[in-house]
Symmetry: C2
Subunit: 301 residues, 2 copies
């Protein structure tokens, strides 16, 4: 197969030097085929299919939230981790903001990833065995928390990691209360059905800059306006322990946070074992495996 | 009277080189004494007294919103106004963001200022005749709208304009829908009862920089944390035409706005004629009169 053949087959072209029209997604959102029953009731699963996300309040008990919070504190205060490339430290404050591949660093978080409350929901939505494409903990401080602009995760994972189809789902497990005003996630319900190609070719080693501020893989304002007009905006609010499952292609973003309330979460991306990575579709080289895993071993209990 | 005497009399000291404790406000929030009846019902007035703000949905009709929106468009597109010092233009885009003293520039807005729905509420809250301390229209675009950090307006008006007491009230008349997620105003209900002194002496001509980003008159994080712990945060949401009256000393701020929804409002500060300006309490010179008026003529029908 030549390079040209590969490009012809790409159903989700992006990062082109010219502009492209919006693309209607042909892949399902919920891939359940009856073989992977799970804890999600039919109505919630149908809503997830339509909206591209579902929220499970109290998925973690208060005691568990407390335990994971302490684990987060332990990880972000571990000086020996600060030199690790998987740990993102804010230069000005020397504070840890994110720890990637955290399920390989922390046993407690490894357990959470294979916990049936989390794992079985991912399997149920994706209709197959799943593996971890990416995991991380995030700590966004109060007062100075920066938001991130609108984007589809799948657009990046497809372009830069070589994920063929949007058969992946993310679990965002809140360790702090999410209010409407402390920079929580905003999603456009139903937007997962539209793939938004982004203009601009990906430069070498783009990931290093993109962990701070995304410059490529950013949808244009006209496309965002169209999607918001059609879908509106929902916010992920709820007490600590609430968990959001959201489609890899849903358009989402967040504002900044000037309140004193910090925001911390555990973020796990499950990909279907039937959707394992190939070469990047629109980047010179694949990103490091701590950002886009290439060990496709299914997660099991 | 010497300078030292004046400072002794200042019940709201701020902009000191050293830190100061929080000060409990001795002045009322609602100054009604029965002489100024008005359109605010007793329950709403009592709530305004407690919370420091009140919201009047539909104060403007949809047709009026439309008319004021067109007036805003006319003003922000008037090339002849762009050189006017009262017009704040964003350099990078050459777009008008604010027009100060707008009730002297626009007849339509002058009418609104003396409209009984607006004026009589201000008189009722302040318990006296009132004049306009400041007026402006604001246009915050979607996608790139910057927020502003927590502050008390009175702290600035006292320090830089010489307003003796917090006997002023602001009306924010929304010309666009306010959602929880497009950078609308956040207030701490009840915080108007506490004066938060700010550390740092005001430099000469501070107002020029402060219209863009405030560096002085910024409360410290510990004080904000205390106030939020005590009062919590409310957001001003509602359809276009909704009007917020809020106390001059209420702690407020706003996040940024990455949504496509712009935010525009008309902002009018009424001050009591019994609270007219003196020399600035903590600045070398008073700000220009288009920011802090020194014509104390009461507004009348």
């Amino acid at each position: 197969m030549t390079v040209i053949d590969t490009k012809t087959e790409d159903r989700y072209p992006t990062r082109t030097s010219y502009g492209l029209e919006l693309i209607e997604r042909t892949d399902p959102t919920v891939w359940s085929n009856g073989c992977h029953d799970g804890p999600i009731d039919p109505a919630t699963l149908a809503s997830h299919d339509t909206k591209g996300y579902s929220i499970y309040e109290g998925l973690l008990s208060p005691a568990e939230v407390q335990a994971y919070w302490q684990e987060l504190e332990r990880l972000t205060n571990d000086e020996s981790l600060k030199a690790d490339e998987r740990v993102i430290v804010e230069k000005s404050s020397n504070q840890v903001r994110s720890v990637f591949e955290v399920h390989k660093i922390s046993e407690l978080i490894a357990e959470l990833v294979s916990d049936p409350r989390v794992l079985d929901r991912a399997r149920q939505i994706l209709g197959s065995e799943v593996y971890v494409h990416q995991s991380r903990v995030n700590y966004m401080p109060g007062f100075k928390g920066k938001g991130f602009y609108w984007h589809s995760d799948f657009e990046t994972w497809h372009a830069e990691d070589g994920m063929p189809a949007p058969r992946a789902v993310s679990a965002s497990i809140a360790l702090t209360d999410n209010y409407p005003f402390n920079g929580g996630l905003m999603v456009m319900p139903g937007s997962q059905r539209t793939f938004v190609p982004c203009q601009g070719e990906t430069p070498e080693d783009h990931y290093k800059a993109s962990l701070k501020e995304q410059e490529f893989g950013v949808p244009n304002e006209d496309d965002i306006t169209k999607l918001v007009a059609e879908h509106g905006i929902d916010q992920f609010t709820g007490p600590a322990g609430s968990t959001l499952f959201f489609d890899s292609n849903i358009m989402h973003g967040s504002g900044n946070n000037i309140t004193p309330f910090p925001r911390s979460n555990i973020f796990v991306v499950f990909n279907s074992v039937e959707n394992t990575l190939v070469e990047p579709f629109a980047a010179p080289t694949a990103r490091p495996t701590f950002i886009g895993a290439r060990d496709f071993t299914p997660v099991t209990r």
